[in-house]
Each structure stands twice: as C-alpha cells, then as structure tokens.
Amino acid sequence: MIVAEQKPIQAILATLQGADSVLLAGCRGCVTVCGAGGEKEVRVLASLLKSARNEQGRPIRVDTAVVERQCEPEFVDELPYSRDDHDAVLSMACGAGVQLVAERLQDAIVLPALDTTFIGVSEGKGTWVERCKACGDCKLHLTAGICPVTRCSKGLLNGPCGGSSNGACEVDPSIPCAWQLIVDRLERLGMLDRYEEIIMPADWSEYGKPSSMDRGDIK
C-alpha cells in the first residue's frame, strides 16, 4: 500500500494562513491503514487546527468528511465542498488523492496535509517499510523476490557493491544490504547459481514520464 505521514502541524498551519474555513477531507484507503489520514486522524487534526488557530486569535472553521477513496472520481465527488463555505480543502490523502480532489474541484484551493512517502508493507504495528518503487519493469523473478531497485541504496541490479558489510548497507548500517538478502535467499532456495546471470539494464521508459494505463478488458 501507499504509506504517508502527516506533515508537521506548523507546516499545515502555514499553508492555511489565508483561510478562515476549511474542508478537511480524509480517505478510507491506504492512509487509513497506515494511520495517517483516516477518520480518527481527521478528527484529531481538526481539533488541533481549531485550538491552534484559537490560540492565534484567528479561529478557523473546520468541516470534515471522509470518503472511501480519494483516488476515484465517484468518491471524490461526494465531498461536501462549497466555494461559499470553504476557503480551501485540506486533503489527508496520498499525493494522488490530493491531485484528484484538485482536478475534480476546479475552483478550490486544495492543500496536502500529508507527505506521501513510499509503497510499502507493514512490519508489525506502527512500522512500515518501503518495498516497491513502481519502476514499471518488475525483476523480482530474478532476485529471489527481493527488490534491489527499492532496497539497494544504489538500485544495483547486479550487486552487491563493495560496501556491503556484515549484512548492512554502507550508506546506513540500519539498512539491510539488499544483495546480502538476495544471496541468502537464493542460497536457501538452492538457486545460488542464478546469481551469475547478468541482469540487463532496466527499461525505464515507463518511469521517466507521467504514466497511464488503459485497459479495454475492464471497461
């Protein structure tokens, strides 16, 4: 899923400086699961914003709404935004959600409340780790199910580099060396000979420009 985290409250307040009323919009998708922009976070942020602005002597009206997914037009269109009532929409979705809200609400100022960080998995309660760069050219069948594009600091497809030490990456010892993990797993699977196949350069042609997908079969 997409993992995001809330921006510091001061940063959010700074973007709301000119606004006296805001529609705070949550999302029940990925950001609910990673505890960044679901129902609960919307409630908490609304009250934080109101009390901070009260302290500043410039109260703000915060209306709230949580939709199923901010990445789908039919749900975004359910947002109770009104230009007369709201100076801005503060979206608690990922960057894709924020942009769809802006696209659907052409006359609204749409602001992000979150920083979208990565596509990842949960590693126990409250911990998420990055696992996919959405490179568009998956090579996991060649690397024992461990992605070097994401997990090697240099994205080496034929690693490891000379900086792999005691299972750790030279860039940051808290990062496991992806190629140590790949080699260990290949060995466990009895496939270490696969290591010597040269993996050809990635095809970045779908990565370096805005991508889209048009699937006739599900239209």
């Binding site: 080496l156 690693g159 490891p160 000379g162 030490s165 860039v171 270490l192 040269i198 350069p201």
Partner: protein, 317 residues
Amino acid sequence: MEINQGTEVRKKGALQGILEQGRFAVTAEAGPPRGARPEVMAHKASILKGFVDACNVTDNQTSVVRMCSLAASSILLDHGIEPVMQMVCRDRNRIAAQSDALGAYSLGINNLLCLSGDHQSFGDHPMAKGVFDIDSIQLLAMIDRMQTEGRFSGGDEVQGRPALFLGAAANPFADPFRIRVPRLAKKAAAGARFIQTQCVFDVPRFEEWMQGVRERGLHEKLFILAGITPIKSLKMARYMASKVPGMSVPQELLDRLKGVEKKKRKTEGIKIAVETIQKMMEIPGVSGVHIMAIEWEEAVPKIVEGAGLVPRPSGRA
C-alpha cells in the same frame, strides 16, 4: 585512414601491452583537483612518470566534486602518463556513459575502469540525486558491446568503434564473501579484461579469494592487479579499520604501526606497502599492483623502487 571493423587502427596502450606480455604491471592513482587547475594533474604526472605503467584518474571519488576524469585523463596523457579513466554510474546515465567512452577513446585514452560509484550521501552533495541508471556490470557489458558488436545499448550502429581496455574493481573483503568470486566471474563475462582490487592489508583473506579465483580459472581471463595503499598514520589505519565498510585491516598491522615512533610511521607505511607488493608477486594469478596513495603521490616512486619494480618496461611490442 586504415579502417578495421569501423575502428581506426591504433596501438594498444602500455598497460595492456605489459599485461599481455606477462610482465608484472604497476598502476597508481591520481585524484583530479577541486578546481580548474590543470597544473595539479601535470604536477602529479611529473611525480609518477617512469614509475607506473598507467595511472587511474578517479571520477569524483567519494562523491566529492572534482575536475572530470575525462579532462584530467587527457591532461595526464599530454604529460606522458597513460591514464586509466575511471567512470562511475552515479553521475551519468547510459547515454552519457556511452558518449564519454567515445570521447575518451577519441582523445587517446586507452583504458576505462567501470565502477558503480560511491553513494552520493558520502560526499559534499548529499542532497543530489544519484543516477544509477545502470550498474558497473551493465556498464562493462554496454561498452564491450559497443566495441565487439559495434552496437549502442539502444541497438543503433556505432560508427567508429572504440577499443578501450576495460577494467573493473573487485573487493575481496566485502560481504557476502561467498559471492565475491562469482561476482568477479560476472565482471569477466561482462567484458572486463583487468581488475583492480580494494586495498589489500589482510593478505590471508586476499589469498583465500585468489584461490577461489584460480579454481574458476578467472586469472586466465582477467589480469588482476592487487590494491596497495601506503598507510600515512595510525589515525588513518584506525579509520580504515573501523569506519570504512568492506575494508579489512588486521590488528597486527595496527599494532606494528603503534610500535613505531610517530614521526617514523610514514616510512613504516611505505615499508608495509613494499612488503605487501612482494607478497602479491608470489601469489599465482596476480598480474600486478595498483597503488592507491591517497593524496600522497610522492610515496609511489619510493614504493615502486622499494619493491624493485623500476625501471618500467615500455609495453610496446
């Protein structure tokens, strides 16, 4: 102009010549200056001339901005030193890498060392975006294909093939150790002809790696130059022992330096380097040494002389 498979016929470089003649090769390293000062490269050339067969020109090593390795290599060439131009994947994509390879060969550079490159977080621009479009093995394979098949990575024809002597690095001391020989095999398969290794302080571990290299017959496919770094001070030795990942500095070496008076440690460092070279010359399959005297080029002539490796052969048939 005589044309051979799209390549202008040109004599091989001295390094390739010496290695192919089976003579023990000596290379060193010269870091380009952190400014537009060609005289720095000229000065380094004057120190090294007559003591090395070729000299590596590092490519923004440790991710610190310096004069580009292409220009600095060309300056060395003008001053009578054969360069080994280093090229890293951190700062250039496959388009720039192929372009620079063509440019290098056209300027008379014969040797290209293909590296992934240090991560940008170690240098003076940690905020920069690393390119890493391809890795060192893919870089080797790409340049090799330009030379042998006459095709660019994208498939178009190379109109005038370069004939660079391709090299790569190997670190026998990094983890996981069990793939360090297979990794070398990958580099050989990708087109590397010579290898320069990480600094050897831990001779037994290097010998263990070399044994694996010989078992696979890789010493017959690749010329292996063992990395030699003279230690300047106890501080430097301690730093390399504890702070540099993928570097093995045995405790005996630290103790040996500690047992020497502070002002005599530089001399001791040179002595250790000479002894290490003598050990390397005894190991079957080692074709030469690569002396990395980091910002201490003055040490190189002393080491080469100490090891009895002067005068250098011409390398020309």
